[in-house]
């Protein structure tokens, strides 16, 4: 820098230091995240980018975060990790060491959250993440990771509760799951639940992530005449599974999937073939879920759709809740100090568009899963964990008997 430049700069600094800081000049609070904007996970990653952005904008429009009587604007520092775990770890390190962001939001997917939470733990900056549900993320006694997705081990919990109330009662079950952290957690949680519900597990098969051929598994399901098929996997796999089930005329009494069913994209890709598929969601855009910033979940969903042109699902609501949770914790702490915010997060309790936010000692939220089913071209919530909220279409008719 030339000497005149540095003189000018120090003059500016002196002037700005001498001026009393008005609220408009308060320093922005920067939230950092690395999200899958490209690569195989971009399809779900976009929910997080969009949810973070719309929530930050909304909070800023309402005046921002009030800390110690002063309003601060929020800013978002977002990197694209290209669906690469190693890159996301480097980006989180960069966010903390070079960009010096104040607090962290999470990536999508459990295996990313597992790796990235090691960074937040190392630098002692809290990360609130809404993209990883695997129990493994929260089983390491980490102090700086908080999660707003319901535990993977309980994804099928409400579905299995529902099975007992269906007629004719299903007797046998097949459990299929991909070999990644989230889906293995789902399977480990589901197995004992199936047993205690009195179902016989006739198939318990792990398959490779990104598998595209399910013909062998489907032929086995058909030959064993399985009543209930539960699949924990990724949306691409589940699309292939349903298409191939149709082409081999495999129609169990019920099938349910951990992902896909609640998202618009899934129903669009399958068209009529998505009918009868069960799934679960911890979030529905209901006006009963009141929210300080958006009013309620329904208004959030409307604003989201108007801005991005597609419907939010629970990933998006979870992402929005993450931003709100950090904001609430900062306001409670009256500080942006990572340690103080962390302590407030541990005991936080407030209602949001996503539901009541509170974390267990391990840092994970606990929310009940609603059972949903595609019925015609609509997604219908059929069972809320205690009682039926709509008629479940059961058993699924044979493919040839559908209209």
């Amino acid at each position: 820098m030339s000497s005149s430049g540095s003189v000018l700069l120090s003059l500016c600094l002196a002037v700005s230091a001498a001026l009393p800081l008005s609220p408009a000049h308060a320093q922005d609070i920067v939230l950092g995240a690395s999200v899958q904007l490209t690569g195989p996970l971009a399809n779900t990653g976009r929910y997080y980018r969009d949810a973070y952005q719309i929530t930050v904008d909304k909070i800023n429009a309402a005046g921002g975060v009030k800390i110690g009587g002063q309003a601060h604007k929020l800013a978002l520092k977002l990197y694209d990790n290209q669906s690469d775990v190693n890159l996301s770890v480097r980006q989180y390190t960069q966010l903390l060491t070079q960009d010096k962001v104040n607090l962290l939001l999470g990536p999508f997917a459990s295996n990313f959250a597992i790796a990235d939470s090691a960074v937040s733990e190392k630098y002692r900056v809290p990360m609130v993440q809404g993209g990883g549900a695997s129990d493994q993320i929260f089983s390491r006694n980490f102090k700086y990771i908080f999660g707003t997705l319901a535990p993977a081990s309980n994804y099928f919990g409400s579905t299995i509760d529902m099975l007992a109330h269906l007629k004719p009662a299903p007797k046998t079950a097949a459990l299929l799951y991909a070999d990644d952290s989230f889906d293995v957690s789902v399977a480990n949680g589901t197995r004992p639940k199936l047993k205690s519900a009195g179902l016989q597990i006739v198939m318990d098969e792990r398959y490779s992530t990104n598998a595209s051929d399910f013909n062998t598994l489907l032929s086995q399901i058909k030959s064993k005449n399985v009543d209930v098929v539960l699949v924990a996997g990724h949306e691409t796999e589940i699309l292939n599974f349903v298409r191939q089930a149709k082409s081999l005329a495999v129609a169990p009494k019920l099938y349910s999937f951990t992902v896909g069913v609640p998202s618009e994209d899934f129903r669009k890709a399958l068209g009529k073939d998505a009918d009868y598929a069960f799934g679960m969601t911890a979030w529905l855009p209901s006006a009963d879920l009141k929210d300080r910033w958006f009013g309620d979940a329904q208004q959030f969903a409307q604003a989201y759709r108007a801005k991005y042109g597609y419907d939010p699902d629970y990933h998006a609501a979870s992402g929005a809740a993450d931003v709100e949770t950090l904001v609430q914790a900062m306001e409670n702490a009256g500080s942006t100090d990572p340690k103080k915010v962390r302590d407030e997060l541990a005991k936080i309790k407030f209602d949001s568009l996503y539901g009541p936010i509170a974390f267990a000692a391990n840092g994970q939220i606990d929310l009940p899963q609603d059972v949903v089913q595609v019925q015609g071209d609509k997604l219908v919530a059929v069972y809320n964990g205690k009682t039926f909220t709509a008629q479940a279409k059961y058993p699924m008719p044979a493919w040839g008997a559908r209209q």
Partner: protein, 287 residues
């Protein structure tokens, strides 16, 4: 027993699809000595072309295959003349680098143009099946298998019995001698690459009718096509068919008897075994 036969049939039908996917890669590799790492991305592109034809112009995916193939041929011809010809006699490493770069560019252009949404080519008959005794035969897979068989035999006849096909093989075997006989390699190379892409395009159209399409399916399809080409051998399209069928059956049986996570382990173990025992492929001529 019924289950075993059903799984075998599944494997054979899958193998047919595998064979079409690998045909183009093997042809380009055998003749131009270019291992086209962008091959899977071209399959993806073909799938998107077929999807657009089906969704926006209501052209049946099977009837749309020739259109997809022609468009892809034109793209292939231009790419070879404008780009790949620069490295056709360069060391292997350069060709890998260039085609890898092409893969990345195509994938990300596809995300920009088509978004990361999952697509399926899903005409009303796509999920139909018929019963053959205790067996269930998916109609579309059978049709895809028939197309695969037709294309393979067509390619084989073309390379063996037409003047152009012989010229292509001659160029692959001995460039100097071929030139002495009046073969124009620049044109021929572009033709071969165009043909390779046309086959990739057709494979993409078929793939979209049985699976789902997104911009990122390419890399794994390239890997699969690569394995099939090695197992079957590069000399002969029939080798690719045998390689595809073999892989389809092995993967299906592995999933049945050992477990679905081991399908890839099985197929790549076979790849290594073939490289050790018959380096020129199951149907390749031994050097």
């Amino acid at each position: 027993m019924d289950l075993l036969i059903q799984v075998l049939v599944n494997g054979i039908l899958l193998g047919g699809l595998y064979a079409v996917m690998a045909l183009g890669l093997a042809l380009v590799w055998g003749v131009l000595n270019i291992v086209n790492l962008a091959h899977g991305a071209f399959i993806m592109l073909g799938a998107y072309i077929s999807w657009h034809l089906y969704v926006y112009a209501s052209i049946d995916p099977f009837l749309g295959l020739p259109i997809t193939a022609i468009l892809m041929f034109a793209l292939g011809y231009a790419l070879q003349r404008g780009l790949l010809n620069l490295i056709v006699r360069a060391p292997m490493f350069n060709t890998l680098l260039l085609t890898f770069g092409l893969e990345v560019v195509l994938t990300y252009l596809a995300q920009l143009a088509f978004s990361a949404d999952y697509r399926t080519i899903n005409p009303a008959y796509a999920g139909n099946s018929f019963q053959l005794g205790a067996l269930t035969i998916p109609v579309v897979r059978l049709a895809a298998f028939a197309v695969a068989l037709g294309l393979t035999i067509g390619m084989w006849l073309f390379l063996l019995h037409t003047r152009l096909g012989r010229a292509i093989r001659a160029t692959a075997q001995n460039l100097v001698a071929a030139r002495l006989y009046g073969v124009e390699p620049r044109h021929l190379y572009a033709l071969t690459f165009g043909l390779g892409l046309a086959l990739a395009g057709a494979a993409g159209g078929l793939y979209g009718t049985v699976s789902q399409i997104n911009p990122y399916i390419g890399a794994s399809l390239t890997a699969k096509s690569f394995a099939i080409s090695i197992i079957g051998g590069l000399d002969n399209p029939l080798g690719v068919l045998v390689g595809g069928l073999f892989l389809g059956i092995v993967e299906s049986l592995t999933a049945l008897y050992i477990g679905p996570t081991f399908s890839d382990v099985a197929s790549f173990s076979i790849l290594i075994l073939v490289l050790i025992v018959r380096p020129s492929g199951l149907l390749g001529k031994t050097a």
